[in-house]
């Protein structure tokens, strides 16, 4: 396999392939992964640490299932914010504890004027609306329009898959 990025090599990719579905729930999970791959546990741990430092791994931990936990309303709030203010707005909004993702994306006029996307989760739409109102208050006149797009159905969900 050719690796396009200078950030990861074949050993990293084998480790990614072995861990993207999760870590084994055993006392020495990295040793177990290493054994499966025929690698030294020290190598596996050093590679994981390096991928964390480089942002290839966002974090290691539990991935809660929002739906099972009763957080079933998911609103994608989108905001029309001037390009030169998106960064400061994004930093404010991304820091809110009910926002799970926050991105700057390009506007596509005339169809799509929105530049800041913030995913807001709640137990129901009323809770999401309250949180969106909180964002609106925080942004003040930085934003000149927003909408909330609720998901009504998951049509496909496979997650990240890479070839090991």
């Amino acid at each position: 396999m050719t690796t396009r990025s200078s950030h990861t090599d074949d050993i990293d990719r084998r480790i990614i392939g072995a861990t993207q579905g999760g870590l084994p729930l055993v006392r020495e999970p990295y040793r177990a992964v290493a054994k499966d791959l025929g690698l030294d546990p020290e190598v596996v741990m050093a590679r994981l640490q390096r991928m964390l430092e480089r942002g290839v791994i966002r974090r290691i931990g539990v991935v809660p299932n929002h739906y099972a936990l009763g957080v079933t309303a998911n609103g994608m709030s989108v905001w029309d914010i001037p390009d030169d203010q998106v960064r400061s707005a994004g930093e404010l909004v991304g820091a809110l504890d009910f926002v799970s993702h926050c991105y700057h994306r390009p506007r596509r006029l005339p169809d799509w004027p929105y530049t800041l996307f913030a995913m807001v989760h709640g137990r129901d739409r009323e809770e999401v609306e309250r949180k969106v109102a909180e964002i609106a208050g925080l942004l003040g006149d930085k934003q000149s329009g927003h909408e909330v797009l609720y998901s009504t159905r998951i049509l496909k969900k496979t997650g990240l898959r890479i070839a090991a």
Binding site: L23, R59, P64, L69, R108, H121, L149, S151, K156
Partner: protein
């Protein structure tokens, strides 16, 4: 949040372990100590939380873009009567990772990820040809810091 089948320790685990799981010989031991429980108990509880689907996964969360691939978020305005057929066409591409129905004029939103960046444009173009519908591509320009989320 008060889910009756999660006790206080489960909630502490979910709230505290959304990141920062250590990389060391006995990481559950180190994490358990922070939580004030034993290593075996933490492993057993994570097993139950995962089996009962309160957790969708436990482990590293990888960042697709940093793996050398490319990702975009795409949106389409799909006529209601063609919705299911168009969803099938879109979902048939392996590069389409998630696809959500949303209640908006743009009513279909999907993520396209590919290891070869030029493949993204090919997939979007192919979807436009097969469906005869326009696809808006909204690639991420910047991501803002996301702390630990979902408090239970």
């Amino acid at each position: 949040m008060t889910d009756p089948s999660l006790d206080a320790v489960d909630r502490r685990i979910i709230n505290a372990l959304q990141g920062g799981f250590p990389v060391c010989e006995r990481p559950f031991d180190a994490a358990a100590e922070e939580l004030g429980i034993g290593e075996a108990e933490l492993i057993a509880r994570l097993d139950v939380l995962q089996d009962s689907r309160y957790l969708s996964r436990f482990g590293p969360m990888y960042n697709a873009e940093r793996l050398g691939g490319d990702v975009t978020l795409a949106a389409m305005e799909v006529p209601r009567e063609r919705y299911e057929t168009v969803a099938e066409t879109v979902n048939a591409f392996d590069e389409v990772a998630h696809n959500y129905a949303r209640d908006h004029r743009f009513n279909m939103w999907f993520v396209v990820a590919a290891e070869q960046p030029e493949r993204i444009a090919e997939v979007l173009c192919q979807i436009e040809i097969e469906t005869g519908l326009q696809v808006l591509s909204l690639p991420k320009l910047e991501e803002f810091f996301i702390g630990l989320k979902v408090t239970v």
